[in-house]
């Protein structure tokens, strides 16, 4: 058997990150994985949002079952578990969709994991090997890691592994300022491909979805943000003493558009009703994700 080319595999690891909660990160990650699978890829999504997992809900999985949390609690000699959710795909293509959820319901597992994370357990010795082994055994073309928005130690491992980072930001000054701060971190600076994806969405305290601005105003606002962000990114780089090359954070051309239907759909998420994009493939939000998936597909395939 040919040994796996880990350098090539590493190029297929996409980390989805946001600095704050409620930016639509998990929604985008799930629907992105779905689109990539619909495009014929074998996509594996890992819910690394250990404190507030949602992928099981988004994919409409029943509660319980093996999870990333279980693996992190007792990793010795085990593989990262996953379940095949290809049946969620609408098309009959050759794509496959795999999901590793995080534990939502088992309090003992959550407490054990919390204790391990609080102890500052270093997962850098086990996660890279386990992920590469998983990618090899599943034959995954792309691995999408949905992270938790903190500066926790385990996030350093996800960020240390990837070469394609999607930073989800809402279209407002606070999120953009946070994103600018995040880009100054050494770990993030090291990542070659950083894509800032603007999501025209915000949640209220009850997690109801609204938009930041009207969809028709997005283009204008985006042009303004691009000018501002480009200036800040450039001046940040000039301040640096290192000469690792230009700061290559890119603002993705097309923001993810808010959808009224998404708002209604999210209110029913607890019913585990499946993916939005599957139900509403031609909706503005879904079309945005389809386009983003094509961009990511090209980005990870071309290199």
């Amino acid at each position: 058997m040919t040994p796996p080319n880990l350098q090539e595999m590493q190029k297929k690891i996409v980390v989805v990150y946001s600095l704050g909660g409620g930016n639509g990160k998990s929604e985008i990650a799930a629907n992105l994985a779905y689109c990539l699978a619909e495009q014929g890829m074998k996509a594996w999504i890992v819910d690394a949002n250990l404190y507030a997992p949602t992928q099981d809900l988004i994919f409409g999985l029943p509660a319980a079952g093996a999870s990333l949390s279980d693996f992190l609690i007792s990793p010795a000699g085990s593989d990262i578990p996953y379940c095949d959710v290809t049946s969620k795909l609408a098309g009959k293509g050759s794509g496959r969709l795999l999901l590793t959820p995080s534990n939502r319901d088992d309090q003992d597992v959550r407490f054990s994991l919390q204790e391990i994370l609080n102890r500052g357990t270093d997962f850098s010795h086990i996660l890279p090997e386990a992920l590469f082994r998983g990618m090899h055994s599943t034959g995954a073309d792309i691995l999408i890691i949905d992270t938790y928005p903190t500066f926790e130690q385990i996030n350093e491992v996800w960020l240390g592994l990837t070469n394609v980072l999607l930073i989800i930001s809402r279209i407002n000054e606070l999120d953009l300022e946070n994103t600018r701060m995040f880009l100054r971190q050494g770990t993030v600076e090291d990542i070659t491909n950083k894509l800032i994806v603007l999501n025209n969405i915000r949640l209220d305290k009850d997690r109801n979805v609204f938009h930041d601005i009207e969809n028709q105003d997005v283009s204008e606002r985006l042009a303004e943000i691009r000018r501002q962000a480009a200036c800040v990114i450039q001046s940040d780089h000039k301040d640096k003493s290192s000469s690792d090359g230009p700061c290559d954070a890119v603002i993705y051309d097309e923001p993810i558009l808010y959808s009224e239907k998404l708002s209604i759909f999210r209110q029913n998420m607890r019913k585990r009703d499946g993916l939005f994009i599957q139900k509403e493939p031609t909706d503005s939000f879904s079309v945005s994700i389809w386009n983003l998936a094509e961009y990511i597909n090209a980005k990870t395939a071309a290199r």
Binding site: Q7, Q10, P128, E156, G160, L161, G186, D190
Partner: protein
Amino acid sequence: MSNTHVPAVMETSPAVEEIQKVKALIRHLDALDTRIEQAQQDCNAMFEELRKDYNDILTELKHHVHNSVVTADRYGYDLIPDVPLDDRKLKNAWIALFRHHNGATADEIAEDLHRHRTTVSTYLNTLVLMQYAQKDRIGHEIYYKAVLNEKSENSR
């Protein structure tokens, strides 16, 4: 009849001849054994001498390699081999590791790169998986060493 009396017929019997042969061979073996032991002692002495020379030269070599890298850095020469690592962060981690010819811990490399220890440990463990580094546990510490071989090196 005396117990020590040997009949005349026995003195020239084939049995006596055999016993004499055995005694002679044993003496021969003893002599060879002594020579073997001497040869082993000589070999050990020579081996120790060679090993000492080898270690002395290796230490001197490491010292000069280290000095050459440091001096090259100072004068802007790049003596670091170009390994075919596409990933910029992994390559930087490998170069930092290469500068520690006796190996280094993740903490040491993190200090060199001004990066979080866990991040650097992720880089180093990925390099180990890609066979660009090896790791050894010595006591409580894990030491990493850059691996340079035909597979991993692009000659400059």
